[in-house]
Symmetry: C2
Subunit: 451 residues, 2 copies
């Protein structure tokens, strides 16, 4: 067994063990607690982080705030590093995503649709920041899911209105960047407003990124980051995705007034409040890919990180990735055999069938079809949070024999793909990746091997 992975025993297959080992190294590198401990180092009265150094004697109190699915282990790690210098704090996590903390209070709340518990947690954070002053240090622990979890609507907009709008936007197929543009302009904390509330305290934000390319202003709706978007942009998103007309009246009224300059705007790039803010990404897809690459290299493979900006329809992306595998197999380029090519990002699935699966399983199944009959090529696609779509699997690990194994069981891989039923097929062929929750989320990691 390779750590993290619980699927059918692969110890008889040296290549599969190696593939899992490479992915596990990627996961190790983005474990949120370890990532915080690596980034944030205390040396007596000095706190070091990414090229900056803080004198802890300057601060009377140290607060920990934040929200996100990985924020509990992040808060615990901050406590580990700062010990009794932590005064207290409030962090909101998804129901069940807890970790043992000391003085920092955890609030469990709803995700992806916000609930009252999330609002209550946000009120605690706002109240705490309200009494923080120039001699306070605030450390924010932000991760994916933080946008829904840290919800505090603008005055006049109710939580029920926000819930209705969020559900409509999720159904409309709007991408997370569009959703977050809207959330920023209906919130009292997003889009840099948490930083405004912390001012004049010193603010260090530690971030685990679940957004492709790690744009600071998009992750968890950038609560401590200058906001380049406007209320007019938010209104345009609602119109573009067809939810403006059905949006609650309170929301339309607020955005119309904000777009007309009759409401305070989110803080923009150049705002002096950000001089007291340091935003640091402690874990993201790129670090997972780099750690996986280092492990593959240590195992004697020739390694290439092709991209950590992988996007597109999963089944089509699979064809491009396997095309690179065939190039290596035939021509020994772009990298010589034995090779490991790494890809990171987040694909999408347009559901047309009635089966079960997730984007990583679907990508793996499409890759299996493209690789059918080849030898010496293997592709593993992993959701780093351990949850791929509405299944208990994390992805798939396929090779040139997957389709034949399915046929031997009387199953058609093509029919399964046509029905978005990768889970059923990969379960039958023994090609599922299963980890359970990994406590982190830096999107997906895909490793292509050519021996």
């Amino acid at each position: 067994m390779v750590r993290y992975f619980r699927q059918p025993d692969v110890t008889g297959d040296r290549r599969r063990v190696m593939a899992l080992d490479v992915l596990a190294a990627g996961l190790d590198a983005v474990e949120p607690g370890a990532a915080v401990r690596r980034a944030l180092r205390r040396d007596g009265d000095r706190l070091h982080i990414e090229g900056r150094s803080y004198d802890l004697r300057r601060f009377r109190r140290v607060w920990v705030v934040g929200a996100g699915k990985a924020s509990a282990p992040m808060a615990a790690a901050v406590e580990d590093v700062l010990g009794d210098r932590v005064t207290g704090g409030h962090v909101t996590v998804k129901y069940g995503y807890t970790a043992p903390t000391g003085r920092v209070a955890l609030h469990e709340a709803g995700h992806p649709v916000p609930d009252e518990a999330g609002v209550a947690g946000s009120r605690e954070i706002v109240a705490l920041l309200h009494q923080a002053g120039e001699h306070d240090l605030v450390i924010a622990v932000i991760s994916g899911g933080g946008s829904a979890l840290m919800t505090l609507p603008v005055e006049g907009v109710s939580l029920a209105d926000m819930q209705a709008l969020t559900e409509a936007l999720l159904r409309s197929g709007a991408p997370i960047t569009a959703l977050n543009t809207v959330r920023k302009h209906l919130s009292q904390v997003k889009g840099g407003q948490l930083a405004r509330r912390a001012y004049p305290a010193t603010l260090i934000t530690l971030i685990v990124s679940d957004v492709v390319g790690s744009p600071l202003d998009v992750i968890a709706s950038g609560p401590t980051v200058p906001d380049p978007t406007t209320a007019a942009d938010a209104r345009a998103v609602l119109k573009r995705y067809g939810v403006w007309d059905s949006a609650p009246e309170s929301i339309r009224r607020h955005l119309d007034m904000a777009a007309a300059g009759q409401k305070p705007d989110t803080p923009k790039p150049g705002d002096p409040i950000f001089e007291r803010v340091q935003n640091v990404i402690v874990a993201d897809n790129s670090r997972a890919a780099e750690a996986a690459a280092a492990r593959a290299q240590a195992l004697g493979l020739n390694v290439l990180i092709a991209t950590t900006y992988l996007e597109g329809e999963a089944r089509e992306v699979a064809r491009v990735l396997t095309g690179i595998g065939r190039e290596i197999a035939t021509y020994g380029r772009p990298v010589g055999r034995p090779a490991c090519v790494l890809f990171g990002g987040e694909t999408t699935v347009t559901v047309r069938g009635t089966g079960r699966g997730g984007r990583n399983q679907e990508l793996a199944l499409a890759a299996a079809l493209a690789l059918a009959g080849t030898s010496d090529i293997l592709l593993a696609s992993l959701a780093t949070d351990g949850t791929d779509g509405p299944t208990d699997a994390a992805g798939g690990l396929v090779d040139g024999g997957t389709v034949a194994r399915a046929e031997g069981l009387g199953l058609s891989a093509q029919a399964a793909l046509d029905n978005n039923d990768a889970y059923t097929l990969l379960t039958a062929t023994g090609d599922l990746l299963v980890t359970g929750p990994t406590n982190t989320n830096v999107n997906d990691l895909i490793a292509l091997f050519v021996w």
Copy 2:
């Protein structure tokens, strides 16, 4: 102006000139005549080709046969190399795809739906091979389109039946490999049967490949290559793509009998007739990519050939390719700046709108959307035959400013993509690639630049 390219003047833009220069080098390498002259060398009485050498004194007569869109310049090049040693021959080309030849007769015929002229040309070839003997050398010039152009149905199946079936299969969305499996088992010349007819003459086949991965048995339905497929496979294709029930009775009867072993089969791998056959690919996508790579390197760029097996839905492929561009721009990997990454293959477009375009234009437009607002990234996608879809363009050349240029003209790049209308949009923004016919076809060549 860069040779081949006729689009709006780019001489003011050093980067675009460089991009066209790289693509032009790719085209140079696969010009069919030049490719034949490079592969086939005569030294007095010796004829050299790819590791083998033939004593021309052994042959009383030298014949040139073949079919394909690039076969006229190939035949002319064989005449150049062999001079008066060429006795004569028959080559079938698409209407208008001629080149000046001497003793080799050209027959113009229909493509992609075969016609009587193609059958007449094939009859001439078969008659010629019938009287070729052990002391004859036959040089076949085969290129894309050869399958439709060299049509000679089995006895009992009429040309009208083949036309009806070909049209039904083209409409069904069956890929070229599936189409060619069917054609082989309804033909007197495909699937290695041309080689059987040439036997016991010595046969050299020169091939310009228009199939991704250059599988010899698929290009032009492999007339001189062992056929791994069976009549049962052909029948299964017709059933899978839903055209079996509507197929002409004569075709269903023939395939049923052939599948039952009541008709002679195509020659299979291991058949001794192939001991007298040498199949040589003189030009394919890989050689175009290599020549483009060499030119990019000479221009000072860091070069990577990512794959020559590129397949998938054009707009989704674009997202993966631009993701690699963003990786280079951000992290300097998988190759450092200034970089040129090359891709070859053939994407597909699922048409849902009513606009005009082709797979390369659509890929370019989708890339423009993914690159909007970036700087220093450029993507060029080129149909090497100069004809991208039913347009007079060969592809597109886009960058981070394409979408903004469209907006400046009141046009929406997203709306154009939604309507499969890349031609109209790229024409307006000045981002179309236009070459006119290039006289070759090795699929598509895509160059991604990051300065």
